[in-house]
């Protein structure tokens, strides 16, 4: 197991480095960070001075190695846009994203699992149809549109929650609902399919023959196996939410990592973009690894294999 974790860890680092260099090079070839820092209306002498001050006139490879050297010493560099250490910047924004991601994952689980289980237990019934139409709707409605709809309904017409911001727990309710809804279709369908498959398996028939019924049969015998792929998907969804809640954070004006990433990209804030990408990639790969480990824990056959 240790060598497996080490191998996956090294792979994660390699992926992160490749993505990071690709992004770094793309930024330098596609944008002019000096002009962005100076501002679009800045006179040329100002742009030139910034170019020299920040060392943008050095070769890309030299700049990348310098940045990477800092990262290995725990220094992510200083943000060109915010003029503060990137590590500090990420720490300031991470809290919002983590809370939002976890709460939205909770929303997903609370909606998708009961729907999926209900649909599997009563296939082709109205429960199944309801679950299916919920999934289709959640998949079809774009995040930003759903966001605006819930704002209009629950923040403007019936002012139960604040429109935007991230100061209190109430600010997280609507964005968590919106972000969570986007993962419902995948998790619901997987739960339904997995449970249907398991319910038709031999060991369930045997369990039934032994007298296992109802709650015990579903939750102790069937669901444990049916949820194996769901765990993997939830881990991937959490990765998406930690790195890709850009739209939700923008619509609800939340100061999380997603919004920081967008602002940094638009402002050619390369050290911040680089560091965020590194973190997003590592998070994603590590969450996938965690999902594998949880699967192994849940299913002894995987461990043995």
């Amino acid at each position: 197991m240790a060598s497996y974790i080490l191998r996956r860890g090294l792979l994660a680092l390699l992926v992160a480095l490749v993505v990071s260099f690709g992004t770094f090079a793309l930024f330098y070839f596609a944008t002019d960070p000096a002009q962005t820092i100076a501002g679009e209306d800045a006179p040329p002498e100002m742009v030139e001075e910034i170019r020299q001050e920040y060392g943008f006139d050095r070769p890309v490879s030299v700049q990348y190695v310098a940045w990477l050297g800092g990262v290995f010493q725990g220094d992510f560099g200083e943000s060109y846009f915010w003029k503060q250490p990137v590590g500090e910047l990420i720490r300031e924004h991470a809290g919002v994203t983590i809370i939002l991601a976890l709460s939205s994952l909770m929303v997903t689980i609370l909606i998708a699992l009961p729907l999926g289980i209900g649909a599997a237990l009563k296939p082709n019934s109205w429960v199944d149809r309801f679950a299916l139409s919920t999934a289709v709707s959640a998949q079809a409605i774009p995040n930003f549109w759903l966001g605006l709809m819930v704002i209009i309904l629950l923040a403007v017409m019936f002012p139960i929650f604040p429109v935007s911001g991230d100061a209190t727990w109430r600010h997280y309710v609507l964005p968590a609902l919106v972000l969570g809804a986007s993962s419902v279709p995948a998790v619901m369908r997987l739960t339904r399919t997995g449970l249907l498959e398991v319910l038709g398996a031999d060991y369930i028939r045997t369990a039934r023959a032994k007298g296992f019924m109802g709650y015990q049969l579903i939750f102790r015998q069937a669901l444990r196996n049916a949820l194996l792929p769901v765990v993997s998907v939830l881990a991937v969804q959490l990765g998406h939410k930690l790195g890709g809640s850009v739209v939700t954070e923008s619509v609800f004006s939340m100061n999380g990592l997603g919004r920081l990433a967008v602002e940094s990209i638009f402002n050619s804030d390369i050290p911040t973009v680089q560091s965020l990408i590194l973190i997003f990639v590592l998070t994603f790969v590590l969450l996938t690894l965690a999902a594998d480990l949880i699967n192994a824990w849940l299913d002894p056959r995987i461990r043995m294999g």
Binding site: D41, M149, N255
Partner: protein, 513 residues
Amino acid sequence: MRIIHPRRVGIGLTSLLAAWALSMSVHADARSDSLVVALAMPLTTVDRLYSVQREGLVLAQLTDDGLFHVDPDTLEFVPLAAASYEWVGETRLDVVLRDDVKFHDGSPLTADDVVYTFDWVLDRDSGTSRGPVIRGWLDRVEKIGEHRVSFHLKVPYPMALRDMAVSVPLRKQGTYAHTGIRAVEQQLNGIGPYRVTGFRAGREIELTRFEDYYQASPKANPAIKYMRFRVIPDQGTQQAELLSGGIDLMLDVPPDVADNVRHLPNVERLEGDDIRIGYITLDAAGYSDPNTPFKDVRVRRALNHAINRQAITQYLVRGSAQALDFACHPLQFGCEGTGPVYAYDPGKARALLTEAGYPNGFSFDLWAYRDKVMGEAIVNDLRVVGINANLRYVKLNVFSKVRNDRDMSAFFASYGGGGTADASAITGVHFVANTPRNYSGDEELAATVLAAERTIDPERRLELYRQALDRIADQAYWVPMFSYSQNFLLAPGLDLSVPRDGVPRLWQARWSN
């Protein structure tokens, strides 16, 4: 990663809200003592010396004063913290300071503070955002009395007052000596009518009226005591906040969104001029391609005739926007070109193209980073005369890179020049020799523009700018397009003057009931 188009979202939101809003009369109560303003872009600092953002200029009008300021009615540069000034020759400016100006910490403004501020800006290591510009013309500042300073210029520079008004807020002596720049942000010690009482970068800024502000200032006694700036990047969300009373004022609202929202009973629309102009630059020098058709003046003139600027301005830009004939804004000093004016005439455009050897037109990439609808209208107009323009619509940072590399055959862009009512703000950046925005390759024009920038005498400057603008028009280096208009959405009961230069003066805001 999907990014929302704010305008699309705004229009969608507006449509949905309309039915509801028409039957409801819920809106923010007039708040006599506070004003909440939405900012689309995060402000990274409250220190104007380190800010390049337009929002920073709006904020600095409240928290900081310079020696001079831009009169919102005349757009002239007039004394503010200065009591008077006198040009002693062309490269020396003597300024007498007011003796009743106080910093937010209660200490009086002295000549030492002014010298310190400009010395700090002149110091390369200070890293101020406008330092490179100021260092271009200012040699040193000398104290010649307790309230008198003398500015020694490297070269004659008529825009010195502008730079002092817009780019250099005054700082207390020693401000940056013991604390870092970021520490200053938390307790900004300015001399403006409001002091910063809270700053969370990227989230919000809180201001409180400064009660010891000098009474002789035109900004004295602002009606609203507290101001709060909230960063809300999405315009749809800003509208929802406005309707629910979460904010009182939206800035820089696109005209189509403003058109839709103005029908709602709980929102008022304010519209005004903006010194920002839109234009198309053509690669006359052939930097992007030695064989580009734009090297031929007849082709450039054909483009000027082919684009219906009047219609684009009237139907797409709207508001107080005007179609332009010259490379400047009509409100700017020196914008008095007399050279050729190109009327919309597709027939003449075709004739010029035929004469230039392009009877069947040609293809080129038209780069743009904003106003996509206008860009598409331009492409359509060009198609009528046989020119196939491929609109390359990209983000600003990508656009800047390609433009600065001089890899564009033509680009559609805009320029605000910090709201400066002087032709130098536009010609200087676009037609002097060392700017990557200059695609004309015209050294004689560059010399004329530089001469105008180094001339104090207003009459001579007018003449030089006339020559430059006529030359640009005659050679059709640009297709000047239009000036912009500014739209604001505000809560009912909020009075705010319409700024002529597009920079809102929030110290003038007041609640009418």
